[in-house]
């Protein structure tokens, strides 16, 4: 059997056995894990081969369906996106097994859950391998439907049902556009096989239209603003390992789709890069602003996925502008940065979602203002979460900085050589990325500081304890990966060499890659320097303090008698308030309660709440309007079967009549 088929077969088999053996909670999880680990082992050789040589692996099978062959191919781009799918899938499952122990009463169907978990992996793998439009759409549907059932795991909660519903609708509206994209592109060749598409025979305007279809269709999955609305609903509702897999890995399939669509359309043009940059800046800045205004940790993380997708788009947009303007250095830096950020984000965002899961597991709440002081109670989880927080803010010496540096560097270089008319997206990238970085730091200082530091704000947090090793070890592995990529950046740059080569001939990428490797080597060295010097100072301090008093006292409270009262601490809302107030025109936070008034205010208590403005002001009115309009047709639908049969017969008769008259 071809190695590519093993990649699909093993997790599928694991999932199927899991559902057959679904009575046992532990065994079904084990079967699913076995399938995913098998897939990881099977993927090692082909992925390594493709990423090191750049030669694609191909599999052709005859197919009885119309429009082409059953074609699978693993090219460097697919292989790169396959990495997080096959590595993080089993790792999150490893975390998921003990996490799911919490839900052990009879109402929860664990076998089914693990089946759909593995099916999600299978769907993503098949999306990456498919080289036929029909096969791609089938795989895309599998990948889109599996999370619906995963989110519905908590189907007794109204919130989860709503989230799954929003996800389903969003996913399928995107799917319609993709179907159109492939069908229209198929008209350029004679089948839906990717290899037979002839994009250059199409008029430029038609190609722009096709790109638009693909960008919006894939953008829904990726969570680009303004079609991100399913993310903040679905991620919080799903079990944490599922949120991690969806947010860390699945949404990247949207990015893969955009890149694949660009290749299928014959390579990037300037205006597409421009669109990517503009949507990237909007997603990035608004994503982090919405995140700042959230009180629920998982919702906050979901919005940060929107932000990071924005950063990825910025990188890819800079790269595409570089390609279209014939500037290899800009192209390589942008693309390499964007692609590396895909990998990096899957690592730290996956870890942060696992951390959120551990908090939910131990404290039974994710309300940030109910938590506090968890670092003392869950030190290992806290350490991993700290690494993840610093990494997602793009701080050295961690992996997030590596990819963001490449994007910055590409944009800075580009703006010195591009003409005045074409340069503005690069300047937008620079300013946007800087603002995003600063706001992300604010948001994660808030998240980490309020959750893990200070004193507990509720009994939930007060009584929390560390999770079991099977829950913090997967996080630890991811933390090591984040640090490792930061300290060995030139090595990991090699991962994207061949994928970037898919867009550009190899000989023009050699010099830019040498430049990037040189810069990253220095950055890694400086990063190591920060760690070593920090350790050195800590040692120095320990030496200085050897024979001196180290006292523990109450926090300075400006003379107030009870400075340590948990209620007096700053809350997440108050921490973010200056920023959310400044951007209130966008965020439209709702303030309820008794705002202090007069000279001697008595009862004071203020709550802020920031539902997604786009859902609130755009999509909800839109869908309510549509449903109101369709309600006008409800008189046709009254549940009498006889009448429905009459409709069918009438339609059939009309169609036959039309055929007979030659109208059709």
């Amino acid at each position: 059997m071809s190695p590519l088929l093993w990649l699909i077969f093993l997790p599928l088999a694991g999932g199927l056995i899991a559902v057959i053996d679904g009575r046992s909670r532990t065994r079904s999880a084990l079967w699913a894990q076995a399938g995913l680990f098998g897939c990881l082992v099977a993927a090692c050789r082909p992925v390594f081969f493709v990423l090191s040589t750049g030669t694609p692996l191909v599999l052709h099978l005859p197919w009885s369906m119309a429009e082409g062959n059953f074609q699978l191919m693993l090219d460097p781009l697919s292989a790169f996106f396959l990495l997080p799918v096959v590595i993080l899938g089993p790792l999150f499952a490893l975390y998921g097994a003990p996490y799911m122990r919490h839900y052990s009463d009879g109402g929860y169907r664990h076998g089914v859950h693990w089946f759909f978990y593995n099916l999600l992996a299978v769907g993503m793998i098949l999306v990456l391998l498919a080289r036929n439009g029909l096969l791609f759409m089938l795989a895309w549907e599998v990948m889109s439907l599996a999370p619906f059932f995963l989110v519905l795991f908590h189907d007794r909660e109204k919130k989860a049902r709503f989230a799954a519903w929003v996800y389903l609708v969003a996913g399928h509206l995107g799917g319609v556009l993709l179907l159109l994209f492939f069908l229209l592109l198929g008209t350029s060749g004679h089948s839906l096989d990717f290899s037979t598409f002839q994009p250059l025979s199409l008029s430029p305007a038609f190609r722009h239209l096709l790109f638009g279809l693909a960008f919006v269709g894939f953008g829904v999955k990726a969570g680009i603003l303004p079609v991100h609305v399913w993310l903040p609903e679905a991620h919080p509702a799903a079990p944490s390992h599922v949120s991690a897999y969806m947010s860390g890995v699945m949404i990247k399939m949207g990015i893969y789709g955009i890149l694949r669509a660009v290749l299928l359309l014959g390579g990037p043009v300037y205006s597409w890069g421009m669109i990517l940059v503009v949507t990237g800046v909007v997603s990035g800045i608004l994503g982090v602003l919405f995140a700042l205004a959230q009180h629920d940790l998982k919702r906050l993380l979901a919005y940060h996925s929107v932000e990071n997708i924005g950063i990825i788009l910025l990188g890819l947009g800079v790269g595409m502008i570089g390609i279209s303007q014939g500037r290899p250095l800009v192209a390589v830096f942008g693309l390499a940065g964007g692609l590396l950020h895909v990998l990096n984000h899957s690592l730290f965002k996956g870890m942060l979602f696992l951390g959120a899961g551990s908090i939910q597991h131990q404290c039974a709440t994710l309300e940030i203002d109910e938590l506090g002081g968890l670092k003392r109670r869950m030190p290992k989880t806290a350490f991993c979460f700290l690494v993840g927080s610093a990494a997602i803010c793009g701080l050295p010496p961690l992996n997030g900085f590596i990819s963001e540096f490449l994007i910055y560097s590409g944009a800075v270089h580009g703006q010195t050589i591009l003409s005045a008319a074409t340069v503005w997206p690069l300047l937008l990238t620079l300013a946007g990325l800087a603002l995003i970085g600063g706001l992300a730091a604010a948001c994660f200082v808030k998240a980490y500081g309020i959750i893990f530091l200070g004193s507990p704000r509720s009994s939930h947090a007060e009584d929390a304890g560390e999770t079991g090793a099977s829950m913090y070890l997967p996080m630890g592995l991811l933390a090591v990966a984040c640090i490792g990529i930061g300290l060995a950046a030139p090595l990991f740059l090699q991962l994207v060499r061949k994928p970037v080569g898919v867009f550009l001939p190899t000989f023009v990428t050699l010099l830019p890659f040498a430049d990037a490797a040189y810069q990253l080597r220095i950055i890694s060295l400086v990063g190591a320097g920060v760690i070593l010097l920090g350790l050195g100072f800590a040692l120095l301090r320990a030496l200085l303090l050897r024979n001196r008093p180290i006292r523990r006292e109450a926090t300075w409270g400006c003379g107030y008698q009870y400075p340590n009262a948990a209620r007096m601490q700053y809350t997440a809302s108050s921490f973010a308030r200056p920023i959310t107030l400044f951007f209130d025109a966008i965020l439209r936070s709702r303030v309820t309660g008794n705002v202090p008034e007069g000279l001697v205010p008595t009862r004071i208590g203020v709550e802020t709440d920031t539902p997604d403005p786009l859902t609130r002001f755009c999509f909800t009115p839109l869908f309510v309007g549509i449903s109101g309009f369709l309600g006008l047709l409800r008189w046709m639908q009254h549940g009498r079967v006889q009448l429905y049969i009459l409709y069918i017969v009438t339609t059939l008769f009309l169609l036959l009549a039309a055929l007979a008259e030659g109208w059709l």
Partner: protein
């Protein structure tokens, strides 16, 4: 002798603080503390024991060492007038900005570690103002990169010559103004923050470090001196002509002192802005830098 720049930065940085303090004192009609007072303070703090908050979970200890480590590595990246930086490569200013960002990140976490609402307040303000200052800094650097064709701090700052001043004077001036505003905000000076204020409620930087003491506080104070020195050095280096003439090094040091006096003048002549005005100041800095870039592109 590229190590010279590093050593000079490490040795002289506290002196800039005393220049500021001395000029403020003279303007207020006082004699002022001795020029070496910051050094005495550091030594005194290093000799003390420490007090930690009993709420703290360890970030209070992590923050000073991590912050100082990041800022010390920044000294490797910044050229001092004619002296090139020890490490320079294309895009090194990005690393510089993010190393400072790392220092700020851990300092803010160290503040929240004490569970004090005052320190939370300070961290919240610091986070907001820093986020607004970043785009201004990056646009200013992009402006210099466009003008000089180089993307390393050393390359940019040492390429600027009289030629650039003749052709690009408006852009250069705008960039200088933008950098000076960012410098004031990042280093918690008036009009953004008042380092000598007495009321915790109105502080930004000072309130974040309320619960640090002894060697920890020494590390933080030294970090403050390094940061203000490095950011002033970038501005001063723009004004120093290129070339290895030792006279230029003297000019650079004089310019650093001038910047110190300038800060003292600003602090003596105006009050701090209301907190809701500060964002406007920083966005103004961004607009200046953007305008500088615009001028370069239309030329």
């Amino acid at each position: 002798m590229s190590l010279t720049a590093v050593i000079l930065s490490l040795l002289l940085s506290p002196l800039l603080l005393s220049v500021i303090n001395r000029s403020k004192a003279l303007l207020a009609g006082r004699r002022g503390a001795p020029m070496l007072q910051p050094y005495f303070d550091l030594v005194r703090l290093l000799k003390k024991g420490v007090v930690y908050s009993n709420v703290s979970a360890g970030l209070v200890q992590l923050a000073p060492v991590c912050n100082l480590a990041a800022l010390m590595l920044c000294t490797l990246l910044v050229p001092l007038g004619p002296l090139p930086a020890l490490i320079h490569f294309q895009g090194d200013f990005i690393l510089l900005a993010y190393l400072m960002g790392l220092g700020r990140f851990v300092t803010m976490l160290g503040a929240l570690d004490t569970g004090s609402s005052f320190e939370g307040m300070g961290a919240s303000r610091e986070a907001f103002f820093a986020a607004l200052a970043e785009p201004a800094f990056f646009l200013a650097m992009a402006g210099l990169a466009k003008m000089t064709g180089s993307q390393s701090l050393t390359g940019m700052l040492q390429t600027i010559s009289m030629d650039h001043w003749q052709h690009n004077a408006p852009s250069l001036l705008l960039i200088l103004v933008a950098l000076f505003l960012v410098f004031l905000a990042e280093n918690a000076r008036i009009p953004v923050d008042d380092p000598t204020t007495h009321l915790e409620l109105t502080m930004i930087h000072e309130v974040m470090i309320l619960d640090h003491s002894g060697p920890d506080l020494a590390m933080i104070e030294y970090g403050v001196a390094l940061k203000i020195w490095l950011m002033a050095a970038i501005a001063a280096s723009i004004l120093v002509p290129s070339g290895t003439n030792p006279l230029w090094l003297a000019l650079f040091l004089v310019l650093m002192a001038v910047i110190g006096v300038l800060v003292g003048l600003v602090e003596s002549s105006m009050a701090r802005l209301r907190l809701i005005r500060v964002p406007q100041l920083l966005i103004g800095a961004g607009v200046f830098a953007g305008l500088a870039l615009f001028l370069e592109f239309v030329q």
